[in-house]
Point group: C2
Chain length 339, copies 2
């Protein structure tokens, strides 16, 4: 049996209430008593029971982290550990623990979130993705638990605390960079279209083309749904067009690596024959051959702010929702060339 507050009280010759106050460092307890009690706590190896403490305090000192768990998606990508590192740092600074969702399907995740919230397992939730028509986001909006989102919510973003990059502008600048290198035939390989970030980057791609009078070519805009898992074939088709692109923007470095591999197999060289640019600046990208040009989106900062936002809400329910935009920057390396 673990030692409880009662054991300490008895041993120190005080009441349990007093021990509790010593733990809380209540100023109304004499320093003499405090010292005595602390000695006994040390002696007996006392540690407060979180379950009990949290039950009466009606809080858990824990943040729930909810991620898309479709295995490949969330876990293969270095985004997850890096954003977690940011969250972890901020949470740890405020003595908050981290509780992870483990569900594999949307239904499971949804149920877990409801349990976390209703079961008072967590004081707030960080949603690590933003997709269209997401029941989890829907639920969070209603249930009243503090939460924040990494990524702009599709619905009513102004009512929600979230952190994001300016994805539209990022994509736009990326395309403009390629245009400035003399490219006119620029393809875009995007992600799943129910993710807001995918929409935004596609939007930026179109805006850049528009503003530079370059016609939008349907066949140049590829996304995950269109590829249906046949990425290799998609790239082959793209390059077999009458006017194949001279540059490709991909929505993630991982995808860029893949695409480069497929191009290689087609005897198309990067950057000699085609320019490639990625997103997210993974740790390995600079070591690639050629080093991959990419957009650094400050993933760590995204995590930091996401945690900051929930924590703010937890501390004061009444603070208005806040939106944080984290800066990004284009990193020129060796995968793009001037035409």
């Amino acid at each position: 049996m673990a030692v409880t507050i009662k054991d300490v009280a008895k041993q120190a010759g005080v009441s349990p209430a007093t021990v509790s106050r010593v733990i809380a460092d209540n100023p109304r307890i004499s320093s003499k008593t405090k010292q005595k009690v602390r000695e006994v706590m040390e002696e007996l190896g006392y540690f407060p029971n979180f379950q009990a403490r949290n039950l009466v305090a009606k809080k858990s000192q824990t943040l729930g982290i909810v991620m898309e768990n479709s295995a490949t998606l969330a876990f293969q990508n270095p985004f997850f550990p890096e954003v977690l590192r940011g969250i972890s740092t901020r949470a740890h600074g405020s003595q908050y623990g981290l509780y992870l969702s483990t569900g594999a399907t949307q239904e499971e995740i949804h149920r877990e979130v409801v349990e976390m919230a209703q079961g008072k397992r967590v004081d707030g939730i960080i949603l690590l993705y933003s997709k269209i028509g997401d029941p989890v986001m829907e639920y969070l909006g209603q249930c009243g638990l503090p939460y924040s989102v990494v990524g702009r919510p599709y619905k009513d973003p102004e009512t929600i605390s979230y952190v994001d990059n300016d994805n539209i502008n990022n994509a736009k600048e990326t395309v403009e960079y390629l245009i400035s290198l003399g490219h006119q035939h620029i393809a875009f390989v995007g992600g799943a279209t129910d993710f807001v970030v995918s929409l935004d980057r596609m939007e930026g791609y179109r805006q850049a083309l528009d503003q530079h009078g370059i016609p939008f070519v349907e066949a140049y805009a590829v996304n995950q749904e269109l590829m249906q898992g046949k990425e290799r074939e998609a790239i082959r088709q793209l390059m077999a067009l009458d006017v194949p692109p001279t540059a490709i923007v991909t929505h993630d470095d991982m995808v860029a690596y893949e695409v480069i591999g497929y191009l290689e197999d087609l005897q198309i060289r990067v950057p000699e024959d085609i320019s490639i640019i990625g997103f997210n600046n993974h740790a390995i990208s600079k070591h690639l051959k050629p080093p991959l040009s990419t957009v650094d989106i400050s993933i760590y900062e995204l995590g930091l702010h996401a945690a900051e936002l929930v924590l703010e809400k937890i501390t004061d329910e009444s603070v208005p929702p806040k939106q944080v935009v984290v800066s990004s920057r284009l990193i020129e390396r060796g995968s793009c060339r001037r035409l």
Copy 2:
């Protein structure tokens, strides 16, 4: 205020005890009562409070995950998300939640682990690394909380439940593979020497050399301490030796990428001029140019078994410690050539 068991009891015209029994699906409650109570629970939107339930049950249905948090190390590496995916899957299957350590230093982590354990925040702990002289491992050994380790413990491994690859043999086979390709001058770039996995792989390297009558060359064996963060310089020196190696085994694919980059800068080509082989088979390795030969260590399985092992201990304290060896296999790709 959230709805409690009392609200349900009142509304259903039964006692709180009965409601509790309905939640537990106690067979001694009539199905009529059960149905009535369940209807009311539904109607009022009742959810059990975990804090309360766990307080009396003296369990938390939660597994603590402890990782090295030295930022770069744990988080940059795809190992972490993948092992977490394995753990997550198994834990979720048994309705266990995951609680993450967030400490940045060894002291912080140690304190967190003590709090998790003593504060009854978790029912068991999974230690994601094994290093020499680790106070965390020391503590876990004493405190009596069920735990498992990913990686062979340095001290008293037979008394501890852990999962690991046969790292000695893996490294040995890797070197033998290179020998079979005609290499005699084989270097080894290892990790931090306080990690058991590093020791094991180095040991396997030496064994292979020994058994094939190849002398061990001090300068060929590089590790993280020797490099002191000057990886580039270390590689330069390695290749500037009177007899430079014709092949390098690196202890991780990430390191392999880096090394390849440095070699590239020295105008040394892979695999034409030198063969490289990695460890851990990251998702990107197959897309590299050249595709990286590596050892797949089944990271997901490591996670799965680690979770299985703690869960077993939690269910039955008396089961003897168990050791699981997860298989690995050498994946030949394009980064090694026959001499």
